[in-house]
Symmetry: C2
Subunit: 424 residues, 2 copies
């Protein structure tokens, strides 16, 4: 008998019909002889509706109260799901984040899990019940106030509970079949990835693949917990995120590139004419860190000898742009830079693949493909298993498609390769 | 500095505009130098909408999960109210029933409060904050599950918290100006009662006056806590419910009758041809008690000497009718009664007044007024401060109007009495 943790997102429980469908799926898993813990998000648009109500009473609602408000969403969906399961003749008990023992820090709106003490969940399982747990929420260790975990919170709840319960697998249900080699809306020939490593999945998540949040993959890696990303609309196998994807692999050779991710949510700030003195860059990034702004890529131009000045560009979430510009303007006189430029018409395209480690030619192939497609590269950043470039936002689709083709990821190309025997 | 507990019902917080209006009222109370604790119900139709969702997933949802679901309603309204207050520059913190220390038994759907431990509320007040508490809900002492208090639950929460906090007053806000001598929709000349005793208010509540629930008045009497029932749409004084309404009275003499209440929610069951033996009536009512059916009035006819049989009639909530009939049919053979009759076309009209104690002619005046109005009396029940009659449901309005006039409760009649100097 296995212990399975399943997570269903808002679109999987959007209405009564969906909830009943999910209930049947859960009962089937239970009937197959598993212990089942289910983590559920708020129904469809509930969170947006609650946020809208909040805006109607206050333009800047206190974080504590916003968390209190939003957690009503999962309370509704989890109770309904427990009822739907009961209606199928199986016992289910719903638990809030607090009742499930999801202990967090006190940062309302983006609390971090610091402990999971699922005593009541274990009790319910021991009594043969299905446990339904509210995703996205917890309780502050210090203030005992209700908190929310922020983006990716429900996935993180599921993984954290699965780790604490030593579950065999954490199944993340979504509305697509798994993790793809690229966004199928951009690359129709994109293929489902059967198995992928935590590290690659983390790079994918960090580079804009929205299917799993970075936090939840990080958490799973720490506890070596297998994640199975799959569709709630079919029983097909999805994508397994594991420590060693090749151990059970049927493919003869690991592909060099696992996937191509893209992200249109970033903007670029350029600090123009920074005096080329020791410590100026440090001051700039200390200023941004103090304003709690997360920087992604950074490029510093070679200093022009004639002027003794240089430009520093960095990317950040577009929504943090105004705060970053305002923070930097306050230190303009002290640093003595000339001006600030802001460009939100950029996009990031990233190649991710553990195979890169042993294939030094990847960068060259990637850049050649972009050049052939007429895409201009503005910034470059690399890790051991990733290459990212910043391009114009309207060139993102072309860049993703070109990269996908260049590394033989297109589904029909793979067929061709097999039949053609090119020895790939 | 006084400690004021205010309770706002669902219609007072039906939308963002109403919530902002209530927030202003709360802040005004705080600014006047009071400590303020607010108990709030779910917004307008939220509870009905949640019940409808529950019905869509399960025809008979488990009580535990239904309570989990419904308590989302107050969670939403209380968080929004706290935000609206924060937006006015005052600090407010919202608390669930569990966080506020409302400890109950485990009877889902109609839990009873067994203790109130408002440590976190006191803390918030000590820090100068306004505390917002979810009405209608608590947490089970034994199972730690979330419970709801059932009908009148939010009023009861307010009174229970006020008692535990030793508040100076519990203000119950509603959409009318206070407690009236009769339902103004039936008797347009009905007047607001300025002060009324707990006992009279309890009789009014038990007899169908919907403005305050019996439970909450009982609770207030036990702790001698003054209740002020008033409109959330005006600043006029409403009705004070207190131990001794005459102590500060400006009226020269207490009226004999405080008010006329009516109730159309009951039905009458007649057990026909019960053998007139010792213990048969006891068996009937033991059977009903075992089925958890609350009986209101009972009449046993004088036994007919010829047959040795009698009829027993009783009233009960119409919704309990089917359960009562079914329970009685099971014991028909054992008791040997002939048949059962069920009549849901009845209404109860009650006169309530502490002055009755010293005015023995009340019953005669009441019955004469009903006879003059052509109203037939089916059953009669009395207490020290109340006379109730069962009449045909279509005669309720006539009976209420006749009684109101007969005891000089009509507003214009009172004027007439004063001017006429009849010495009433």
């Amino acid at each position: 008998m296995a212990l399975v943790v399943q997570k269903y997102g808002g679109s999987s429980v959007a209405d009564a019909t969906s909830i009943k469908r999910v209930a049947q799926r859960i009962v089937a898993t239970k009937k197959a002889g598993n212990d089942v813990v289910v983590v559920v998000s708020a129904m469809g648009d509930t969170t947006d509706e609650l946020l809208d109500l909040a805006q109607q009473v206050s333009p800047l609602p206190p974080g504590r109260e916003l968390d209190m408000l939003l957690t009503a969403g999962e309370r509704i969906s989890m109770a309904l799901l427990a009822m739907a399961i009961a209606n199928l003749g199986h016992e289910a008990r719903s638990f809030t984040g607090s009742q499930a023992g999801v202990i967090t820090d006190s940062t309302h709106g983006k609390a971090r899990i610091i402990d999971v003490t699922p005593g009541r969940i274990r009790e319910a399982l021991d009594e043969g019940q299905i446990a339904i747990v509210a995703g996205f929420q917890g309780v502050s260790q210090n203030t005992k106030d209700i908190t929310t975990l922020g983006r990716g919170g429900s996935d993180t709840t599921a993984v954290a509970l699965a780790a604490a319960l030593e579950a065999d697998v954490c199944e993340i249900y979504t509305d697509v079949d798994g993790v793809f080699t690229a966004d199928p809306r951009i690359v129709p020939a994109a293929r489902k990835i059967p198995r992928i490593s935590y590290e690659e999945m983390m790079e994918m998540a960090a580079c804009g693949a929205k299917i799993l949040h970075l936090r939840c993959v990080e958490y799973a890696r720490r506890f070596n917990l297998p994640i199975h990303v799959r569709s709630s609309f079919s029983t097909k196998e999805g994508t397994w995120v594991v420590a060693d994807p090749d151990s059970e692999g049927t493919e003869m050779e690991q592909p060099i590139i696992s996937g191509v991710a893209h992200d249109r949510s970033e903007a670029k700030v350029t600090v123009v004419g920074v005096p080329d003195k020791v410590g100026e860059a440090a001051t700039i990034f200390k200023t941004l860190a103090d304003a709690e702004i997360n920087i992604d890529m950074i490029v510093q131009n070679v200093s022009a000898a004639a002027t003794g000045r240089t430009d520093i560009s960095f990317t950040l979430p577009t929504s943090d742009g105004p705060a970053a510009l305002s923070a930097l303007k306050k230190v303009q006189d002290r640093i003595g830079f000339e001006s600030l430029q802001f460009d939100d018409q950029i996009g990031k395209v990233s190649l991710i693949g553990a195979g890169m480690r042993s294939h030094p030619g990847v960068t060259a192939t990637f850049f050649a493909a972009l050049a052939d497609a007429g895409v201009n590269i503005e910034m470059i950043s690399t890790s051991e298993i990733r290459i990212s470039v910043i391009v114009g936002q309207d060139e993102v689709d072309a860049a993703v498609g070109a990269a996908h083709r260049a590394f033989d990821l297109d589904a029909d190309q793979v067929e061709a390769v097999v039949y053609g025997g090119t020895g790939r």
